[in-house]
């Protein structure tokens, strides 16, 4: 609690009380879990001074994935992965549930549209992010592993595209999946086995649909979340690279980096009253 040289005014007292009310739950959480410090450590990292907007493509891809996850969860509330024929209309149940989402459910057309177009956005952003990393040389030592993890995320994203394409259960979905599975089937030795596993039997059937649905909404998203966690961990651990034209990165001997535990603002508290000016005075630590 700050001490005042003079008697605090009513406004100042009120502000102080409000601050305490806001801080109390945060302090409570921090004391018991260290989560506040963890979040601060994750969000307020030091980055090179000459980074630019292209370095936000990774976050953009992450946002696209979150949009896919949220809209997917909502779609799953209305979608029925059944190849059975509705006796009243003679149409497949899965396809009817898609029509219901698009035509009847409030804003269903919007959520389905977000999921459908967002899928492409996710893949495109991953490719752009990959191109940025490649052109900046950000895949080089010590970040090779993170490139590999990124490629796995891209692969999983494409598997999401492949499994999600079948779910509307219309002619496009059916024949695209026929061709896609048969492409897998032409791989040497294990190809035919892989194709039969994907189909859940010799022919595409209702089992293929439920299998793809399970892969699409449970297995692959789980794998993507795990891989993204690993990807971010490595980003935080290894830091962000400067662009290739960076003068800071090119010029002279690199400055001795101060151990993280001594830097203000991460785990050591910023000196009270100094605030942002103290951080500006010592970029990247003490000189």
């Amino acid at each position: 609690m700050a001490t005042f040289r003079r008697k605090p005014s009513k406004g100042e007292l009120r502000r102080q009380r409000a601050e305490e009310i806001v801080m109390f739950p945060l302090d409570w959480l921090e004391e018991r879990s260290g989560l506040i410090g963890g979040v601060k450590y994750f969000l307020f990292r030091n980055v090179p001074s000459d980074i630019n907007w292209m370095q936000t493509l990774g976050s953009a891809a992450l946002t696209a994935f979150i949009v896919q996850a949220v809209t997917g969860v909502i779609l799953a509330m209305y979608y029925t992965p059944s190849a059975a024929t509705d006796p009243h209309t003679g149409q497949p149940v899965a396809w009817e549930s898609i029509v219901n989402i698009s035509d009847n459910v409030f804003m269903g057309w919007l959520v389905r549209g977000m999921h459908r177009w967002g899928a492409s956005v996710f893949i495109i952003l991953m490719f752009l992010h990959m191109g940025r990393v490649f052109l900046f040389g950000a895949y080089k030592y010590p970040r090779e592993l993170n490139w590999i993890v990124g490629v796995l995320i891209l692969l999983m994203g494409m598997l999401e595209g492949f499994t999600g394409y079948l779910l509307p259960w219309d002619q496009t979905a059916y024949w695209a999946t026929v061709v896609g599975i048969n492409l897998n089937g032409t791989a040497p030795i294990l190809g035919p086995w892989l194709a039969q596993f994907l189909r859940g039997g010799q022919e595409i059937s209702g089992e293929t649909l439920t299998r793809f649905y399970s892969l699409h909404m449970l297995v692959i998203p789980g794998a993507i979340i795990a891989l993204i966690t690993l990807h971010l961990y490595l980003v935080v651990r290894l830091g962000v690279t400067s662009p290739p034209w960076s003068k800071d990165a090119a010029g002279g001997d690199p400055e001795e980096a101060e151990p993280e535990r001594l830097r203000p603002g991460l785990t050591r508290p910023v000196p009270r009253g100094a605030g942002a000016s103290a951080m500006q005075a010592e970029p990247g630590g003490r000189q």
């Binding site: 035919p192 209702g206 980096a257």
Partner: protein, 334 residues
Amino acid sequence: MEPEQPGRDTEQEPLHEEAHLPGPSLYPIGFAIGIVVLLVGLVIDPLLISSIGAAIAIVFGFLWAREATREMRAEQVVVEPERRELPGAGEPAAEEPGFAPPPVEPTKVTRSVFLEGSTIGLGALIGGLITVPVAGFAVLPSFLDQKQHKVDMGPLETFALNQWYISTFTVDPAEGEVSRRTAFIRNNGFVADPQTKQQVPSFTIISNHCVHLGCPVQANGPTAQILNMKILHEQTANGKLTLDPVVPAGYGCPCHGGQYDPEGNRIAGPPVRALDRYSYEINHGRLVLLSTYSVSHVVGTGAQAKIYKYKDYGPGQHVDGPEAWFYPIPPPHH
């Protein structure tokens, strides 16, 4: 500049622990082979092959366990009370007669190492016990009990002599529309069976699944509307059956342009063999379709055709020539 490099002032403390790696052993390989034979046996012959696999796995697993625990069994593990040597505290007790502790041989397997190993081992065992049935459940149903469907195509008289029909039918009524298939059927009339010398009906029944990647091939030629013939709609044991008369000059695939002649031989495009055919039987005067089989090529036409027949392979998979070596073990079919 790498701003977030780990601090260079923190020195790595040298590790004093030495890894106690077991000596090289061939038993785990034998154990793994046993498990593989067991799993393959589940597909091929659960009784015989699986038992052999289980036996191999048990024998090698036992040998492996014996080898891994050789050191533990060779030495008597003496449980020793924990002691700490106090610095500078001399050894007065040992000097006194009668109080000398019995000499204890140093043991490699300490209590903590044993507990660590047993925790990891038990965890792995429990994990395995859960994973094996789940993985089996996820994978095996695709390969076991593939049903043989019989498709009733109605009485033989429906099919006019030497007329091609585009026939669509449901393979499994319980499965519904997704099991609807198309085949090109021609009645070749009666021919002499080479063995019994009896006159038996002959049919050419070609599947419409393109052997490039499985798209539906179309008959290139006039159909009922142009031929001024009627499309036949029938109800059979398998539900709705449609027979659309056609005069095909060949078959073409809309996806990637594969072309076939009327007997299904590939004449152009990416397909790797001739179109698959249905085997059939005649049951009480009705045509019944059975499983499909693959065909490398056909010489001749109709009842006189010599069909080079293979097991059922998927689209894009070669059945003859060196490329067929890529597909040595096809998955189980009905």
